[in-house]
């Protein structure tokens, strides 16, 4: 202390010169920062899954920031966070501790829940974060099944508002890792968690991205559910083999795969995505996270086509349909419209077909129109006059002249 006393400084600084207090303040300063909303699709996918109240599992390398994302999320949503490191717990910590009472034969043995479950139960809301899930031994994973699916910890039922999030390291990065058991894997939305250098740089500069729960349109809820139902049912009618498909590989079984349970989860997620008008990227990530890559990709391709305007609707009101932006979708829409005209060819339908084409010629690349226009022209009856919109289609003829 002598050296401190001989230091020529004003009394204020000397008073606060407890070295650890200053160090703590410095640490506090390096961690201070703000959060901003971000349009990262993975964060949007996480937000979607959390608002749909389905258990999420983040897969990522150790140290990538999975836990800190969850901590920020809980802070942003002002929810109490209970972190449970699954790998250091015993099965009885999740199934409940058997406590032998005075008369076990008559009263049975109650399964006492651990303190974190009691705290969550008392507050009624919050986030349960199960960290290091893949390092948990199989018996612990089996005990976790009930927590994740039925929300039961011992004899206590967690309130329905509790969100369950888990994190796991892929088996190849954790020396003591276990494969996730297939029944447990099938209850989660699997989100791959990668580090985006840009986000890390902005975060270290003091600005981390912020997970905003999706804003659901209260007026569109019924329509969203109807659309999700018709999509999932339409897809599974066309591809019944995807209803349940347990992967053959051991590794793939610990991931996302289609089963009636995951289809139910996918249905709920799609309804949320439609009601929140979430981007296709976020929807694709969550859908692939529940039913797996193969089924997920096919479902997204199916969704893209199902979103196109109905050809009969096009022919009824050729002037006022919402046209897709993408050329391939416009081409698909026009092709199905020409097919509809071919199925039932009348002059009125043929004319409105030309009206649709003329409208597209103004707003889209003209090479998309060539083959639909040629097919439509071939349907002309000898006594029908030329369509009135032909002048707007002149560029198409010019293109055809160059291409020939």
């Amino acid at each position: 202390m002598t050296s401190l006393q001989t230091m020529p400084a004003d009394p204020d600084t000397i008073e606060t010169l407890d070295p650890l207090a200053t160090a703590d303040r410095l640490i506090e300063l390096t961690r201070a920062g703000t959060t901003v909303p971000d349009d990262n699709p993975y964060l949007a996918a996480l937000a979607l899954a959390i608002s749909a109240n389905l258990p999420v599992l983040l897969w990522g390398q150790p140290g990538i920031g999975k836990s800190s994302v969850i901590e920020r999320l809980a802070r942003d949503l002002q929810l109490p966070l209970e972190t449970v490191i699954a790998s250091v717990h015993e099965p009885s910590d999740f199934a409940g501790l058997p406590i032998v009472g005075p008369d076990p034969a008559r009263e049975g043995i109650p399964m006492a829940p651990p303190d974190w479950a009691v705290r969550l139960h008392r507050s009624g809301r919050g986030v349960l974060f199960l960290d290091e899930l893949s390092s948990a031994p199989p018996a612990v994973q089996a005990a976790l099944l009930r927590v994740v699916l039925e929300r039961r910890v011992g004899s206590l039922t967690l309130p329905p508002a509790i969100r369950i999030i888990a994190a796991a390291n892929p088996a190849e990065t954790a020396a003591d890792g276990w494969q996730l058991a297939a029944p447990l894997a099938n209850r989660f939305i699997h989100l791959p968690w990668l580090h985006d250098p840009g986000i890390v740089v902005r975060g270290l500069a003091g600005c981390w991205p912020h997970v905003l729960p999706p804003r659901l349109m209260p007026t569109g809820l019924d329509a969203a559910v109807r659309k999700a139902r018709s999509l999932v049912c339409g897809f599974l009618t066309a591809r019944p083999d995807y209803t349940h498909r347990l992967p053959t590989g051991i590794e793939a079984r610990g991931g996302a795969w289609p089963s009636p349970r995951t289809w139910e989860m996918a249905l709920r997620l799609m309804a949320f995505a439609f009601a929140a008008e979430a981007g296709s990227e976020a929807l694709s990530i969550v859908v692939r996270g529940v039913i797996g890559d193969g089924a997920g990709l096919e479902l997204m391709a199916f969704l893209e086509r199902a979103d196109l305007p109905d050809p009969e609707e096009l022919l009824r009101s050729p002037g006022s349909f919402p046209a897709p932006d993408r050329g391939d979708l416009v081409h698909a829409m026009l092709t199905s419209m020409v097919d509809a005209v071919r199925r039932r060819t009348t002059r009125a339908r043929w004319d409105s077909g030309w009206a649709v084409l003329a409208r597209m010629a103004v707003s889209h690349p003209i090479d998309l129109l060539v083959s639909p226009a040629m097919d439509l022209a071939a349907l002309r009856q000898p006594d029908w006059p030329l369509p009135t919109d032909l002048d707007r289609l002149e560029p198409v003829l010019a293109l055809l002249a160059v291409a020939k």
């Binding site: 699709p41 015993e90 099965p91 009885s92 501790l97 058997p98 406590i99 032998v100 031994p137 199989p138 018996a139 612990v140 088996a171 190849e172 020396a175 003591d176 890792g177 276990w178 494969q179 590989g249 051991i250 590794e251 610990g254 981007g279 296709s280 990227e281 929807l283 694709s284 990530i285 890559d293 193969g294 990709l297 096919e298 997204m300 391709a301 893209e304 932006d325 993408r326 050329g327 391939d328 979708l329 416009v330 081409h331 698909a332 690349p365 003209i366 090479d367 998309l368 060539v370 083959s371 560029p395 010019a398 293109l399 055809l400 160059v402 291409a403």
Partner: protein, 427 residues
């Protein structure tokens, strides 16, 4: 027809129409691209958001047949997901370089490496662009297009990752140094490209859906795709997984099952129970050590290099999961068992043999060993008879070489490993 300096859009779109007519299964992907006129792009290029940049001067100067060929070329970069594969390769190379291993790309010279990548990618694509098309289709490649055969490379393994091994930096000189197909190919950042907003950018999910559709059309046989595209369509539906990961997962799973490893059991009460005044019965941890036998096919049909890789990988995994040296024995076996060793280190393993194959001998010998192995790992090319009965313990078969295929008489070549074994294809 158009004023100087402006893009001749009619010609460019007419070329796209020709390309789509010649390759109907690629039409969806071609039409999904957005055209952006750019005076700074050298010829034509694509970015990772599926936008196609075209130079007005290039479009004017190039024949429409060749423009159609260039369209097919650019869409192939996007469909084959070259930018994602390039990024993966760069990341791998950076990790390798940091660990002091030889890396496929030199992370110190990203721009030169992008050019090399672009050359290798063009080799992968260009052989398919005009395969099976005649002059009447109105599509051909420009004479200056880079092809594998033009550079004197073997086309046996037609993926850019393989071509890259043979393309030294010296190839990227002369007029080839001007080649740049944009970030949709090499994942760099050329000066002319827009950012991720405006001009209809496609998201990775949308691109994946387009790829899926194109592959489905090729599989359904629309428009008789050339071999290269057919192989692409097959591969995309069954993504190739890293066999190291698969082998590791299978081994870990087996180890977990046989040893019960660090799982909970009530065989001995847990000591934590003492803290609860004896009213609670708690389980304790158990970790019996598994015994493992590795049976290696050293017959003449298996290449030593392949064997070395597979063996090294297996031993590495076993070590990582804590199987102790004297618990692993290695049997090298062709028609008879030649050496039996207990190993602590892969460097100790002697391989002997080189004749015909009968791994049943090796598996039988492994079974007779005391203590009896919990797991038998068999590494072979599959040209061997298999035991008719299931051995005790779990069997993992690491299969080298091509996967079994049916011949015209309905016989599998090589014989498929039996159902009771977990089979991992090591390739």
């Amino acid at each position: 027809m158009t004023e100087p300096g402006a893009l001749d859009l009619v010609k460019l779109l007419a070329a796209r129409y020709r390309a789509a007519r010649a390759r109907p299964y690629l039409a969806g992907a071609l039409f999904a691209m957005t055209v952006v006129s750019s005076p700074t792009v050298l010829t034509m290029g694509v970015d990772r958001y599926w936008r196609c940049y075209a130079s007005p001067a290039f479009v004017d100067a190039t024949d429409i047949d060749e423009l159609a060929g260039v369209w097919l070329h650019e869409v192939a970069h996007l469909l084959r997901d070259h930018h994602t594969r390039a990024r993966r390769l760069f990341e791998q190379s950076r990790a390798d370089a940091a660990a002091g291993r030889p890396s496929q790309l030199d992370p110190q010279h990203p721009e030169r490496e992008q050019l090399r990548l672009n050359l290798a990618m063009d080799c992968e694509i260009n052989d398919d662009v005009c395969a099976g098309l005649d002059a009447a289709s109105g599509v051909r490649l420009p004479p200056w297009a880079v092809t594998a055969s033009g550079l004197g490379l073997s086309t046996k393994e037609p993926l850019f990752e393989q071509y890259l091994h043979h393309l030294t930096a010296a190839f990227a000189c002369g007029r080839l140094a001007w080649l740049d197909c944009g970030s949709g190919a090499h994942d760099g950042q050329p000066a002319w490209e827009l950012d991720g907003t405006g001009a209809n950018p496609l998201s990775p999910a949308q691109a994946a859906a387009i790829r899926y559709r194109v592959a489905e059309q090729i599989r359904r046989g629309i428009g008789n795709a050339p071999r290269g595209w057919q192989r692409w369509a097959e591969d995309i539906s069954q993504p190739v997984q890293d066999w190291r990961r698969l082998l590791q997962a299978t081994l870990r799973h087996s180890l977990a099952q046989v040893s019960g490893a660090v799982d909970y059991a009530y065989r001995r009460p847990g000591r934590r129970a003492a803290a609860l005044s004896g009213t609670v019965i708690m389980p304790s941890l158990l970790k019996p050590l598994p015994t493992i036998a590795i049976v290696i096919d050293t017959s003449g049909s298996v290449a030593d290099s392949e064997l070395g890789i597979a063996l090294g990988e297996t031993a590495g995994i076993l070590k990582a999961v804590g199987a102790k040296g004297n618990r692993i024995s290695v049997y090298s076996c062709d028609a008879a068992v030649h050496t039996v060793q207990e190993v602590c280190d892969t460097a100790q393993i002697n391989l002997a043999g080189g004749g015909g194959t009968d791994l049943r001998q090796g598996i039988r010998r492994a079974q007779e060993h005391t203590p009896r192995p919990d797991i038998i790992v068999v590494i072979t090319d599959g040209h061997t008879p298999w035991p008719s009965e299931r051995p005790a313990g779990r069997v993992i078969v690491g299969l080298l070489g091509p996967p079994p295929a049916l011949d015209e008489f309905g016989v599998w070549h090589p014989l498929r490993p039996p159902q009771w074994a977990e089979t991992v294809h090591l390739r």
